[in-house]
Amino acid sequence: MTTLSRDSDIPTGRSRRVRGRPLLYTSYGQDMALLDTTAKRIWTLVLVLAAFLLSGMLADRSLEVLAGAFVLAIGAIGLNIVSGYAGQISLGHAFFVAIGAYTAAALSGPVDGRNLGFGLTEIWIWLPAAGLLAALAGVLVAPLAVRLRGLYLAVVTLGLVFLGEHIFKEWDHLTGGPGVGRQSAVPTLFGARLDVDGPLGTREQSLYTLMLIMLIIFAVAARNLARSRIGRAFSAIRDRDIAAEVIGVPITRYKVLAFGISSFYAGCAGGLLYVMTGFVEPGSFSLLLSVQFIAMVLIGGVATVSGSIMGALFIVLIQPLTRALPGFVPFISGDTTVTPNVFQVETVLYGLLIVLFLVFEPRGLFGIWIRVRNYWKSWPFSY
């Protein structure tokens, strides 16, 4: 039978790799694999193991910083889904992060406390709830987004941030009001609190491990999403939305989906973000937070998951460097009331970095990594 023989000609699933030829794919499945070469498999494993081992090696203070970076990376991956993969510029990410943060805080807050609270401290309850509520908000906003493109969309999502800021500042039963704030989400896993020193290690060690696991889950999910039918539809919409519609991508459905998924990530990141500080204030969800997320995506690499993680780590890890500046440069002050102070320098640095990356390496840190990798791949030849 001809059909049978033809079927057997096209190998499906995981077939045997040819030794010494890492880029020779013998099946479609190999081409689409998350970790398509042996080197990637080994190094990813090493990296993940090293990340877990770090929790025993670093000081608690550094672990807290890194854990924060991991959570921001989840948010950055979310923004990358809607802006990088689906190409819908969103300045409203901070709004969805805020919804997640307050959903988580309210669900896990004490029932008879000063602020709204339901006493459900189990993380597997409030984390999905935070994500889902933010996703719902995203889906509600999406009808506007579907009709708008480019700069109109950017300005509208910007408006969302201002509206959100207003709501959260005014609704003080939920948020505690500006300058006061409220207790943030309490992470409990099957009755064991993760934000206190316990049998698993110190508070920082257990939180670090929690955030790392969360980041891995969300990152792998995003990678899988990107290589699925949905991911390909997103790319088609990004590259040319009308053409995508013509070849049969239901544009409205996928734009709504992109906003929903992105907001789900933002909501989860918001829920986790303030666990470390134990405190959340409505003023934190300003345009600056949105810009920070955009900086992470652009500096890390548009439409790459590993880029988002690199970007988040980069943005978080330059903070200790800039905070140390007053020691070296005498005219920069560490005091917010004096100009120029460290925070202004930081803001300028974000802007400058975004511009430099956009001009010289639009693919971001991920692009730099690709260039370095390609250089050594063909070393000692230039290509």
Partner: protein, 295 residues
């Protein structure tokens, strides 16, 4: 009724400031297809320049001088940071303007310091009565100056060679280039004009209450104004600005009594609500050109 009319006059006064800012946004957008997020910083710089110059030259000379200074600053920005980016994605340029905005504001904040800087304007909070209405002089001044500037601007676009060149370049850059229009000069001119208008707007924002580091946020209200009017419509920018001003003023006066559940200071975000509602009905604003796209 009297209260309502006074509220509307206040709204028109503030709205004309938004209209000036919105015109700057639209002029730059029409020339370069970019929303310049540097506009708030230019506005702030204009206000601060006036507040310093007023001590040397007096108010009426300080305003045009400051406006020219900011126009030159905008020209410089365009030449140094925007022109090399021609041909790059719009989003890249928009982010660059955002970065420029931050840089300028940091420098300008240095000159503002921690206190409020006064404009030294002749109006202050003085009130004047027109018939039964009692309104602040500065709102009338804003409205009058904006009316004159808008008239001049429209005449400029309608009757001068450069205005024609700008309209041509906005309509079709390549064709304009082929007809001998220097598109680079058009870019520069549009940034200069936007800087000029922003400085005047900044001066008006500073009248009465003075200017401080956070004043730049007011310029962001021009964004709902341009979206409302349509990104590429000059008339739309003026109408959008005035509408936003009046809506905000109405919310300021009446929302506390009629709808207190919206929370205090809802007026501050009311422009965005109006923008969202209008966009639901008309995705390209009231007067914007509908994009026709071919695959």
């Amino acid at each position: 009724m009297k209260g309502l009319l006074e509220t509307v006059v206040r709204g028109l006064g503030n709205g004309s400031v938004y209209a000036l800012l919105a015109l700057g946004f639209v002029i730059i957008y029409k020339a370069t297809k970019v929303i310049s997020f540097a506009q708030p910083a230019l506005m702030l710089a204009g206000a601060v320049a006036v507040s310093y110059l007023v001590e040397v030259t007096g108010f009426y000379l300080a305003v045009p001088l400051a406006a020219l200074m900011i126009a030159l600053l905008a020209l410089g920005i365009e030449r140094v940071a925007i022109r090399p980016m021609v041909g790059r994605p719009v989003f890249v340029v928009a982010i660059i303007t955002l970065g420029i905005d931050v840089v300028i504001r940091v420098v300008v904040n240095h000159y503002i310091g921690r206190d409020v800087r006064q404009m030294g304007d002749p109006w202050g909070f003085d009130q004047v009565s027109i018939g039964p209405l009692v309104v602040q002089e500065r709102w009338l001044a804003m409205l009058a100056v904006t009316a004159v500037l808008v008239g001049l601007l429209f005449a400029f676009f309608r009757y001068t060679r450069y205005g024609l060149a700008m309209r041509a370049a906005a309509y079709d850059q390549e064709t304009a280039l082929a007809q001998g229009v220097s598109v680079g000069a058009v870019f520069a001119l549009s940034w200069g004009l936007a800087g000029f208008l922003a400085a005047i707007a900044g001066m008006f924002v500073g009248t009465g209450q003075g200017v401080e580091q956070l004043t730049w946020i007011i310029a962001l209200k021009a964004l709902p104004a341009i979206i409302l009017g349509g990104l590429d419509s000059l008339g739309g920018a003026v109408i959008g600005g005035l509408t936003i001003g009046v809506v905000e003023s109405l919310f300021q006066s009446y929302q506390g009594d009629i709808a207190p559940w919206l929370g205090q200071n809802f007026a501050v975000v009311s422009p965005y609500v109006v923008m969202l509602l209008v966009l639901l009905v008309r995705p390209y604003g009231l007067f914007g050109t509908r994009e026709v796209e071919r695959v």
